[in-house]
Symmetry: C2
């Protein structure tokens, strides 16, 4: 019986919460819980805002430096702003510090946040300090975007091209190396420990007018596809040969199958997944940061992958979930 | 030596963080860390935004119901919006749930947040769910306020009247009753467990044009006076006979001295402390929710109280601090 937090699927739980919170706020332009950010109409444009709670045990591997912890806490939030096409306006950071944390480490966390905010052309504008047994950081990022440029999860239709920024599975490969105590260098671990919010890419995509839907891939490509499929009532066909698998995945995976699984199902990449109208794609073709990985099909076709050998595989609904025990990797 | 979180004074630590974060954001209208909210210029008005992290051990007495926990997590944030004169636009809630929390309790927390947001004429517009050993909730509230109406901590000057909303020490008295396991009724505990954000009062004060500075009293009246004194380089003289001491304080305190201490130094009241130009006070005199408690004086006079017997006492810098061990009550 589903009666406690550990028994429930994260997305089902969010749906329950949404039904309690209601959708009655007249300022709200996208229903609560439906997208990477909440969207408020404000002064003729949209304000996009998002919050993410991270904590030591789950989110900060023990090799992570305090600076990286700060960077990460900022980056996960700016990634959501990027997914809406937003220009960042600022970051709030509520931090619960363990009593015995050194002020030097606390300062390094702050510098990590500041540096990530600066990378996103903004700054830390406020926050809260608290003491907490386990280091816990909740970031809140704000952004602005004009009404015409807002990117949302809703709008994808059969025939659209499916594209991603960057590479797939880099963070998953780094996590694997960490869990297996492998001897890898700083650069290998970077996608996991210092994810880069795709703000510049998000802004370019927003301005292009070619994007029909967008979200980030923080919980893995597969879960993101399932989210877009559910919102838009569509299916997906991806092509294995098109996937920009991160070179770390190839280095670490013991088989091609394992490499493919890592590219599809591992979380932490913080890339953008976007769908693009075919007839508008020309406007984006010069954009080297974008890779076409497949196409949208009818909902009945489900979510599948055409392998290098031409065979068709179903992509499963699994990836990284923050609560619930089902399907976690 | 001050080298860890537990050794440092909260306000000194915030000052250190502010110096790391810098003050370079051109959209920012009030420097980071200087007020109850961050203030961003947006579409010709101000966006005010604030975040607060609460967790089981420190913030949720074990008699608190899940509904009250949700209400509290929302209320502390809306109180900061009230202190800036803002009209609430929405609440984001990031919640780290213990794995064994029942879905019923999780739902009650959500209903508490929703009800508090509705009381503040807005709604929960988004958030994040996470699992956490200790129940941890970080709320983020947003509000809007016109440029002329923004209330800030800066602006108080000698001669201004010092006023508070509501009563003083009610939450402190309830905390005392809780800690001493006293047999008190639901209503007695209400100020501690269901604080009321002074949104309507904040809006009226903002529109009056009479307020020279404002903040909330969440860490106690004394600490709030010290904060305003420091920002404005002024002193305060309060009059004991004017203090609207909560009736719970009189019921529970063992002496008049203890009652006065509770009114001055206990936290959790979430009332507004405002200073008002004497020549503008007429505009506010019809407002029964406001009590004049004293007057602003020169910085050299310090922060003091004239007792009922006419003697002058120094008000100390103590109250509720979230980190650091000095001066906590």
């Amino acid at each position: 019986m589903v009666s406690t937090i550990k028994d429930i699927d994260e997305r089902a739980f969010i749906a329950q919460l949404s039904s309690i919170f209601g959708r009655g706020n007249r300022e709200l332009s996208v229903p609560a819980g439906d997208d990477d950010c909440a969207v408020l109409e404000f002064g003729g444009e949209y304000l996009v805002v998002t919050t993410d709670m991270l904590h030591q045990k789950t989110d900060f591997p023990d090799t992570m430096t305090p600076w990286q912890i700060g960077w990460m806490a900022a980056a996960v939030n700016f990634s959501d702003i990027a997914a809406m096409g937003g220009q960042p306006l600022g970051l709030l950071a509520a931090v619960g510090y363990p009593q015995n944390m050194s002020l030097e480490d606390a300062g390094e966390i702050a510098r990590g946040m500041r540096d990530c905010a600066e990378f996103c052309e903004t700054s830390v504008i406020g926050g809260d300090v608290d003491s907490h047994e386990e280091l816990t950081i909740t970031g809140t990022a704000l952004g602005r975007v004009s009404k015409e440029e807002l990117l949302t999860r809703k709008g994808a239709k059969p025939g659209d091209l499916v594209c991603v920024t960057g590479t797939l599975g880099g963070a998953g490969a780094a996590l694997e190396a960490y869990l297996k105590n492998m001897d890898v260098d700083y650069d290998f671990m970077k996608p996991l420990l210092e994810p880069v919010p795709r703000i510049a890419e998000g802004r370019m995509l927003a301005k292009s007018g070619a994007v029909t839907s967008a979200m980030d891939t923080s919980d893995g490509l597969a879960l993101s596809l399932y989210d877009l499929a559910s919102v838009n009532e569509v299916g997906f066909v991806l092509r294995e040969e098109l996937l920009p698998v991160d070179r770390r995945v190839s280095e670490i995976a013991s088989s091609e199958k394992e490499a493919l699984e890592m590219a599809l199902y591992s979380g932490g990449d913080f890339e953008l997944l976007v769908t693009v109208s075919k007839d508008m794609f020309e406007a984006l073709q010069a954009e080297s940061y974008l890779t076409v990985v497949g196409e949208i099909v009818d909902i009945d076709a489900g979510i599948s992958l055409v392998g290098k050998d031409g065979a068709n595989f179903a992509i499963n609904r699994k990836g990284y979930l923050h609560i619930g025990t089902s399907d976690q990797i």
